[in-house]
C-alpha cells in the first residue's frame, strides 16, 4: 500500500488531536506504520491548530503541500486556509453549514483538481445531541460513511469505542453514528448534503 497523507485542522479546543489519534490507532491496529505532527504550546490558546497524519512507510511527519489525500476541517475557514495541502483528486471534509458550503468561487478550483468536497453541520449535530464539544466525532462519522482512504467505517468506529473513556463512550458513539447517518444519506443521494458527486 502507498502512503496516505491526512491534514486535520480547526481551532484550539475543537478536538483535533483526538480525531488524529482515532485514525492513527485504527491504522496501527491494521499493522500500518505512521507518523503524526501535532500543534502544542501557544497556538493552542485559540489559534489555528493543524495536525498531520501520514500512514505508510514514511520518514517525515509533515505532509508536503499538494500531497494530502484527505483534508478534514472542524472549522470552515481553517479548512480553506489548508487548501494548499490538497493533492489532485483528494477528499475535503468540512464541518460547515451545508446550505452555504463551499463559499463562492471555490468550485472551479475543486473541479479543476478533481477534489471531492463534502460538508456536514457537525457543530449543529453535536449541539442537538447535547455534546457541543464533541463535534469532532460527528465529522469523523460523516467521513467514515464515504469509504475514503485506507480505513473502513468499522475500523474507525471500533477505535472510537476502544480509546474513548467509559464516561464519554456512549455519547461519542452516538455522535459518530449521527455523523455516519448524514454521510450515508449523502453518499446514497438522500439529503443532498454533499458536494460534487
Amino acid at each position: 500500500m502507498g502512503t496516505t497523507n491526512i491534514v486535520l485542522c480547526g481551532l484550539g479546543g475543537q478536538g483535533i488531536l483526538f480525531m488524529t489519534r482515532v485514525l492513527a490507532e485504527a491504522a496501527l491496529d491494521r499493522g500500518l506504520n505512521l507518523m503524526c505532527a501535532e500543534t502544542h504550546g501557544m497556538a493552542q490558546r485559540g489559534g489555528s491548530v493543524v495536525s498531520h497524519l501520514r500512514i505508510g512507510d514514511v520518514k517525515g511527519s509533515l505532509v508536503q503541500e499538494g500531497t494530502a489525500h484527505l483534508v478534514m476541517a472542524l472549522e470552515e475557514n481553517e479548512g480553506y486556509r489548508n487548501l494548499p495541502f490538497l493533492a489532485e483528486g483528494a477528499g475535503f471534509y468540512v464541518n460547515a453549514d451545508s446550505r452555504r458550503f463551499p463559499r463562492e468561487g471555490l468550485v472551479p478550483f475543486f473541479e479543476k483538481k478533481g477534489i471531492r468536497f463534502r460538508s456536514v453541520d457537525a457543530g449543529e449535530l453535536a449541539m442537538e445531541i447535547g455534546a457541543p464539544m464533541s463535534l469532532n466525532l460527528a465529522l469523523l462519522g460523516f467521513f467514515a460513511a464515504f469509504g475514503d482512504g485506507p480505513l473502513s467505517h468499522e475500523e474507525i468506529r471500533g477505535t472510537v469505542g476502544k480509546i474513548t473513556s467509559s464516561r464519554l463512550r456512549e455519547i461519542n458513539l452516538r455522535l459518530f453514528d449521527a455523523g455516519f447517518e448524514r454521510g450515508s444519506a449523502a453518499a446514497e443521494g438522500r439529503g443532498g448534503q454533499y458536494g460534487n458527486e
Binding site: L11, G12, G13, R21, A24, E25, L28, N33, L34, M35, C36, A37, E38, T39, H40, G41, M42, A43, Q44, R45, G46, G47, S48, V58, K59, G60, S61, L62, V63, Q64, E65, G66, N77, Y80, R81, L83, P84, L86, R103, L106, F109, P132, M133
Partner: protein
C-alpha cells in the same frame, strides 16, 4: 511481540531515558520540551523504579543538580527548551571541562519556526561552543536510540552529551515497540579531587586539553556510528550533486528522493554533527561535485564541511536563513538546485494559484488570546485602566498575550519584566522625568528568575509597580506545578514557597495580595501602589494578583457561574472587544451588536463590570 504504541517524540525520549537507566531527572518546562518529564514520571511509576525527578526552578538550577548527581556516579539527565539552555549556559560551559562520572545527558529542544519561542537559535551551536558532543535525531524512534547511545557515550568519555530534538521530533508521533529497561544499581559516591571538581584556572588549562582529546576520539567514533550517520553512495560512482542533511530535514529529504525516484542523488545523513564525523564526510564529499547542505536551524554542518567550492547551503543563499524547513520549502530548495546544475527536474510543479486563491479569501487572522475566564485578562484590564500612560514591561508565559489588551509593551527573556522595569526607571529618572512603569510577571517565571532582578531593583532604589500574576500553575507549557503550590513533579507534597515572604525578603515593604476578579479592588490597590512608588520614603510596590488558572482549576477559578447576555443597550462601541478582548465576546453582524458565544463562555461574569453602557447583564433564570 508486545503491541507497538503510538508515542509522542517526547514520550519516546522518556522511554529512552527509562531504558538507559537514568536515575536522576531535572527539568524546567518549555515548549517543545515540556512533556518529557511527565512521561518519565508515568513510566517510572508504571515500572516501580526508584528515579528522582524534579521540576527545578530554572534550567541552570536543573543542570547543576543533574551534574552533581552525575559527579556522584548516577546516570542523570536534564531537559529544557533551547532558550533554557541559555540560562544553563554558565553551568554547561564549565561542566564540559570538568566532566562527569555517571552519564549526563542534556536534552535541549529546538523550535525552528519559531512556533513558541523568542528565537530560532540552534542548540547544536551551543554544544559546539561548550565543546560537548551533540546528537540530532530525525524522528522519535531515533531520538530514543540516541538517548541510550548518548548516555553510554557520556559515561564512557566522562563528558556531558547534548541531545537536540527539534519540535518536529518532540511533537511527532510514531509507532514504537517497548524495549528492555536497564536497571542501574550504581550507588552515590564522591571521591574528593579538588583539582578536578573545584579546578582553578591552572587546572582548567589541563582539563581543556583533556576535553579536546576526548572530542577528537569521539569524532572518530562518530565516523563509524553508522546507525545515525550513513550514506547511500554506490561504490565507484561519481555524482554531480550530493545532499548532506541532519535531523528532521534528513527525514523529509529521504521521503522526497524516494517519491521522486532519484537514485542519481546520494544523501549523507548526519545524526552526530559535533564533533564532526570527518572521515565519513570526506568519503562522501570526494564522490560528489557539489554538496547541498540542508539542516536546521543554523549552518553548523555547512561550516564544518569546510569546502567553499563544493558546498551550497545557507551561506551561499541556497537555503533560507530563517524559518522552519517544512517539506514544501525543502522541495523548492532542491528543485532550484537541480535547475541550476542542469539536472533532471522534479516531477511536481509549484502551485502558485492555490496560494493566491487562499490569500484572496480574506480568511480571519487568528491570534492566540487569553482564555475566556482567564484571571490575567482581569489584571491587564485593571492595570491599563489604572495607568494608561505607563510602560508595561512583561515576561514569558500565557500573559504575554496581554499585548492583545494593550497591557504588554516589552517581552525580552525570563525575568526581564523586572530588570527592564528598573532599567527604564533609571533611564527616565536620569532626565528627571516621572514615567509610571508596571511590570507583569507570572508566578513560575518569578520563581525562575525574578528574585535577582528584584533584589537589584530594590537595592538600587528603582521605582515601579510589580504585579505578580499568580495563577498557581505554569499554564502555558501545560500545567506544571510551581514552587508556590506545594506539589512536586511526581505528585507528592512539597513545602510551598510564599511569594509574599520571598518579595518581602527581597526588601520590598509594599506587598499586597488581591484577587483580580475583584476589578475595583484591583484598581484601588494599583492606585495605592502608584502613590507608594512616588512617595519620598516609598519604593517598589508589589501586588500579588492571585486567582487560579481557569483551565487548570476551573472549580476554584469560577466558584459561582454567572451567565451573561448582551442587551439592546449595546451601542457597538467595541470597548469590551478591544480593551477586554474576551474570545467569547464577538460582534454579531446579524444582530448589529456584540453577542456572547455560549459554546466558549466561561461564565465568569467579569464583562458585566467592564461594559460602559451596562449592556452586559446577568441572566438570572438558568
Amino acid at each position: 511481540m508486545e503491541r507497538e504504541e503510538i508515542v509522542l517524540g517526547n514520550g519516546a525520549i522518556a522511554m529512552g531515558l527509562v531504558e538507559s537507566g537514568c536515575r536522576i531527572l531535572t527539568s524546567y518546562p518549555g515548549t517543545p520540551s515540556s512533556e518529557i518529564l511527565p512521561e518519565v514520571v508515568r513510566r517510572v511509576k508504571a515500572e516501580g523504579l526508584n528515579t528522582y525527578i524534579e521540576w527545578s526552578t530554572n534550567e541552570k538550577v536543573a543542570l547543576d543538580n543533574a551534574f552533581a548527581a552525575a559527579v556522584a556516579g548516577k546516570r542523570s539527565a536534564c531537559c529544557m527548551k533551547q532558550v533554557g539552555l541559555n540560562v544553563a549556559a554558565d553551568s554547561l560551559m564549565s561542566a564540559a571541562y570538568i566532566g562527569n562520572i555517571g552519564g549526563l545527558l542534556i536534552i535541549s529542544c529546538d523550535d525552528p519556526g519559531p512556533h513558541s519561542s523568542q528565537t530560532e537559535q540552534d542548540t547544536r551551536f551551543m554544544a559546539r561552543l561548550a565543546k560537548v558532543p551533540v546528537l540530532d535525531p530525525a524522528d522519535p524512534q531515533e531520538a530514543r536510540e540516541m538517548v541510550k547511545f548518548g548516555m553510554d557515550l557520556s559515561e564512557e568519555f566522562q563528558i556531558p552529551v547534548v541531545l537536540r530534538p527539534a519540535i518536529r521530533v518532540c511533537h511527532a508521533r510514531q509507532n514504537i515497540s517497548p524495549g528492555p529497561i536497564k536497571i542501574s544499581e550504581q550507588k552515590a559516591s564522591f571521591e574528593k579531587n579538588p583539582s578536578r571538581w573545584a579546578a582553578t584556572p591552572k587546572f582548567r588549562l589541563k582539563l581543556h586539553g583533556e576535553l579536546n582529546l576526548k572530542l577528537k576520539q569521539i569524532g572518530e567514533r562518530f565516523s563509524s556510528a553508522r546507525q545515525f550517520n550513513f550514506h547511500n553512495l554506490e561504490q565507484g560512482s561519481h555524482y554531480t550533486l550530493g545532499i548532506v542533511a541532519g535531523g528532521v530535514p534528513s527525514a523529509v529529504i529521504r521521503d522526497i528522493l524516494a517519491e521522486e525516484g532519484r537514485d542519481d542523488i546520494p544523501l549523507l545523513k548526519i545524526g552526530t554533527p559535533f564533533p564532526f564525523p570527518d572521515a565519513l564526510a570526506d568519503e562522501f564529499a570526494s564522490a560528489c561535485d557539489k554538496l547541498l547542505v540542508i539542516e536546521e536551524t543554523d549552518a553548523l554542518i555547512e561550516y564544518l564541511l569546510r569546502d567553499r567550492n563544493k558546498v551550497m547551503g545557507r551561506l551561499t543563499g541556497h537555503v533560507p536563513e530563517q524559518g522552519e524547513l517544512v517539506p514544501e520549502v525543502i522541495y523548492g530548495i532542491m528543485r532550484r538546485v537541480l535547475k541550476d546544475l542542469g539536472l533532471k527536474p522534479f516531477l511536481k510543479k509549484e502551485d502558485r494559484d492555490v496560494k493566491e486563491l487562499v490569500n484572496g479569501l480574506g480568511l480571519p487572522v487568528r491570534r492566540p488570546s487569553l482564555c475566556p475566564g482567564c484571571p490575567h485578562r482581569a489584571s491587564f484590564y485593571a492595570i491599563r485602566k489604572a495607568s494608561p500612560k505607563a510602560i508595561f514591561t512583561s515576561d514569558i508565559g500565557c500573559y504575554t498575550l496581554g499585548l492583545n489588551l494593550g497591557g504588554v509593551d516589552t517581552c525580552l527573556d525570563m525575568g526581564a519584566a523586572i530588570t527592564m522595569a528598573s532599567g527604564f526607571y533609571h533611564a527616565f529618572s536620569q532626565d528627571e522625568k516621572k514615567q509610571p512603569i508596571v511590570a507583569t510577571i507570572g508566578d513560575s517565571t518569578f520563581f525562575h528568575s525574578g528574585t535577582a532582578g528584584l533584589l537589584n531593583a530594590v537595592y538600587n532604589n528603582a521605582r515601579f509597580v510589580l504585579v505578580i500574576l499568580d495563577n498557581e500553575i505554569t499554564a502555558m507549557t501545560g500545567m506544571q506545578p510551581t514552587p508556590g503550590i506545594g506539589i512536586r513533579a511526581d505528585g507528592t507534597e512539597a513545602r510551598p514557597i510564599s511569594l509574599e515572604r520571598v518579595t518581602k525578603g527581597c526588601g520590598v515593604d509594599f506587598v499586597e495580595v488581591v484577587d483580580p476578579y475583584d476589578l475595583k479592588g484591583m484598581n484601588d490597590t494599583l492606585k495605592k501602589a502608584f502613590a507608594y512608588t512616588e512617595a519620598e520614603d516609598g519604593g517598589i510596590a508589589v501586588i500579588i494578583a492571585r486567582h487560579p488558572c481557569v483551565i487548570n482549576n476551573r472549580e476554584n477559578a469560577i466558584p459561582e457561574r454567572i451567565r451573561v447576555r448582551v442587551t439592546d443597550d449595546c451601542t457597538s462601541c467595541s470597548f469590551c472587544l478591544e480593551r477586554f478582548e474576551c474570545p467569547a465576546l464577538y460582534y454579531d453582524d446579524d444582530l448589529g451588536r456584540v453577542n456572547v458565544n455560549r459554546a466558549i463562555c466561561a461564565d465568569c461574569g467579569l464583562c458585566i463590570q467592564v461594559c460602559p453602557q451596562n449592556a452586559i447583564v446577568e441572566v438570572k433564570e438558568l
